[in-house]
């Protein structure tokens, strides 16, 4: 970016600066011997034009909305429209969660995000023995279309977009969403939203898998194909680094493993004869926004650049919007402290700024009490207000990609990019992400990073304010926390039994048999699953049939 002569002068200046900085160390030593980012990337004391030697503006950055999209996916970014403010929510029953959604919408959220309880995420109905104690705890219990009708009652599905964190059973839940819309006279092609549908990171980091990799990948590509044809505005997957980071990975690993998962999905769909120029447009991503502000801003920019290159060069994708990495962000849950929880508001604000400086399309901000329990109405409101303050008051939304050209940010963007390519190459060498997971490769790297992170906290190399420094004795037992009534499980099971009596069980059985046949063959499963949910076949029944045909995944325990 700089003329040769200019660079030489700057390099001479750098030598001068280094010499005088080192000289001053004797009198004023630095706080640490080595400085690194939160993710462990070594940092220079100072970044200057010579740090960007070789950087080519057109090639490496380009303009927003143009390849390689380092500077963003839209030309006007937040000058046009803010990101979607989308708070992940759901607990107890469909009634309680519907009330929370309507509250959030009344407070200015612009999209919904559904948290399902663990039995729903793992394909068990509320009356299953494995569901005991878990119904309604980390999200809402949805057994059948009947629950889904209540969950989205009085919410205009043609006007809001909905994100659903559902992976192994993404097909039946998407089918239920389409069915609710149809019942309200809204056609599938008018629906906007996202299903997570990302099984690989479940094996790596999140744990709500059901089926083995091969049939899981088939379900995913079936959904891609079905959505391309029938729900064209729907993001058919949200390839997620969030949970990889929460499990302890570094920023570079988060980018690398997420994009390597992305490569596996694109390849699987291409192998099925699908066109990446078409389904590529509906791939979305999901990243974590952690504490290290500069590193995080750089991370988002690097991720866009690497993905653009993967789509264009590796898969030969010509369609511009299929080259673009569009992403949702959530602030880092693992940075929240149970001690002095109000401090979390500040952490979330910093992480929000990083996500916005990094060009996110949508954002969830965590609530201050989430290291203790699910958030209360009040704490969710503060989290949402944090986004609104950044959007409306901070001014950072008036300039597109405001950090571009910062010597530090561009250097880190490049370093993260190079680090990610190294991992991606290693995963390619292992034979792709599926094999890498089988070998425990990403799991091992994440665990090593998590252990190192904990070790740093314990040695105070990493300071957590209010935990390993600035600690106070506090009695927090009187804090108002959200509690899920223990009767939810029992009531949900009763409701389910009643619903099963009222429906046409012969019809249900017929549609379940059709799913079994389709699963044994190679027809797209989505239309059969859609038929079944219309008869009020339950999620557990549908997943039960698929379990019979596909079998279940056994965790490859890596320690």
């Amino acid at each position: 970016m700089f003329e040769k002569k200019q660079l030489e002068e700057i390099k001479a200046g750098r030598e001068r600066f280094d010499a005088s900085a080192v000289k001053s160390l004797a009198k004023n030593p630095e706080r640490k011997e080595k400085f690194t980012t939160g993710g462990g990337i070594p940092l220079e004391r100072l970044y200057a034009p010579d740090s960007l030697e070789g950087l080519d503006y057109e090639k490496d950055l380009g303009f927003p909305g143009e390849y390689p999209y380092t500077r963003g996916v839209q030309p006007t970014m937040y000058r046009g429209r803010f990101w979607t403010m989308r708070q992940y929510a759901g607990f107890a029953t469909a009634e309680a969660s519907n009330e929370r959604y309507r509250y959030l919408l009344s407070q200015g959220t612009t999209g919904l995000s559904v948290a399902f309880d663990l039995p729903t995420q793992i394909g068990y109905d509320s009356d299953h023995s494995m569901a005991q104690g878990e119904v309604g705890k980390v999200g809402v219990a949805v057994d059948s279309l009947a629950d889904m009708e209540v969950l989205f009652g009085s919410i205009p599905l043609d006007k809001v977009t909905t994100s659903m964190t559902i992976n192994a059973p993404a097909a039946p839940l998407l089918a239920m969403y389409i069915a609710v819309a149809e019942k309200n006279g809204i056609k599938a092609d008018a629906l906007g939203g996202t299903i997570q549908n990302d099984i690989l990171k479940e094996y790596i980091a999140r744990g709500t898998y059901i089926f083995p990799p091969k049939p899981s990948m088939r379900l995913i590509t079936d959904i891609f194909e079905f959505c391309s044809k029938n729900v064209p505005k729907w993001n058919s997957i949200s390839i997620s680094g969030y949970h990889i980071r929460e499990a302890g990975s570094t920023a570079v690993q988060e980018v690398a493993f997420t994009l390597a998962d992305g490569i596996a999905y694109v390849q699987a769909a291409i192998d099925k004869g699908q066109d990446p120029n078409v389904f590529g447009k509906r791939l979305s991503f999901f990243f974590n926004s952690h504490n290290d502000f500069i590193e995080e801003v750089s991370k988002f920019r690097a991720a866009r650049k690497v993905w653009g290159r993967i789509m264009k060069e590796r898969f030969g994708v010509a369609d511009k919007s299929a080259q673009m990495l569009r992403f949702h962000t959530q602030t880092a849950g693992c940075t929240l402290t149970a001690q002095q929880p109000e401090n979390n508001i500040v952490r979330v604000a910093i992480q929000t700024m990083a996500a916005v400086m990094g060009g996110t399309q949508s954002l969830h901000t965590n609530s201050l009490d989430e290291a203790l329990a699910l958030p209360t109405d009040k704490s969710v409101r503060i989290a949402l207000r944090t986004q609104q303050i950044v959007a409306y008051e901070s001014g950072i939304t008036s300039i597109v990609d405001p950090f571009a050209g910062s010597y530090a940010v561009e250097s880190l963007t490049k370093q993260i990019e190079e680090g990610a390519w190294e991992y991606i190459k290693k995963i390619d060498d292992l034979g792709g992400m599926l094999t890498a997971i089988e070998k425990g490769y990403p799991q091992q790297h994440i665990q090593d990073a998590a252990y190192e992170y904990q070790r740093q906290i314990e040695s105070k190399d990493r300071v957590v304010v209010g935990v390993n420094m600035f600690h106070v004795d506090e009695d927090d037992s009187a804090r108002q926390l959200l509690r899920v009534d223990p009767s939810v499980g029992e009531n949900q099971a009763k409701k389910l039994a009643k619903m099963k009596e009222a429906r046409d069980n012969v019809h249900v059985k017929g549609t379940l048999d059709d799913i079994r046949k389709a699963a044994q063959g190679s027809d797209n499963l989505m239309p059969k699953i859609l038929d079944a949910v219309h008869t009020y076949a339950t999620e557990g029944e549908i997943c039960g049939v698929l379990r019979e045909v596909f079998g279940e995944y056994k965790e490859n325990v890596v320690l």
């Binding site: 663990l118 039995p119 995420q121 793992i122 068990y124 494995m130 569901a131 005991q132 104690g133 878990e134 705890k137 980390v138 479940e202 999140r206 744990g207 709500t208 929460e246 499990a247 302890g248 693992c334 929240l336 402290t337 149970a338 001690q339 290291a371 203790l372 329990a373 699910l374 665990q447 998590a450 252990y451 904990q454 906290i457 314990e458 957590v464 935990v467 390993n468 927090d476 037992s477 804090r479 926390l481 899920v484 965790e555 325990v557 320690l559």
Partner: protein, 137 residues
């Protein structure tokens, strides 16, 4: 006691997939010289108790971040009693509100460690708890 390694089962009961804490603490116990059996995800209380008995464990550490802590701690403590294995110490950690901690301690859980606990605290507590127990024998 000094020559006998502490044997501890680190378990993830139920459907919760958050295993960062379980794996970090398992590794820390191992680095502290203990024999660690990590179960992996999706364990039923029966499987966990079975593993602990078969492995002749001194203790079971449960990691739960799904809010289902009371259900699982209760089930495991009851099963241990049924199988005459109540001498196995049960402890745990995760996202557990302060008010629930006293409930768990009341049903016989040895210790509950919340977010922010150091691995050293857990190691020291466990060593001490196992030692105390062996003195009583």
């Amino acid at each position: 006691m000094a020559e006998n390694k502490i044997r501890v089962v680190v378990a993830k009961p139920g459907l919760d997939g958050h295993d960062r804490g379980a794996k970090v603490i398992a590794r820390a116990f191992r680095d502290a010289g203990m024999e660690v059996i990590y179960t992996g995800l999706r364990q039923t209380p029966e499987q966990i108790v079975e593993t602990a008995i078969q492995e002749d464990a001194d203790a079971i550490g449960l990691s739960i971040l799904s809010g289902a802590h009371e259900h699982y701690f209760r089930a495991i403590i009851n099963l241990l009693k049924e199988k005459n294995s109540a001498d196995i110490t049960v402890f745990g950690g995760g996202v557990i509100p302060e008010a629930d901690m006293s409930v768990l301690l009341g049903i016989g859980v040895g210790a509950v460690f919340g977010p922010g606990t150091t691995t050293t605290e857990c190691i020291d507590w466990l060593k001490n708890a196992v030692e105390e127990k062996s003195k009583k024998k």
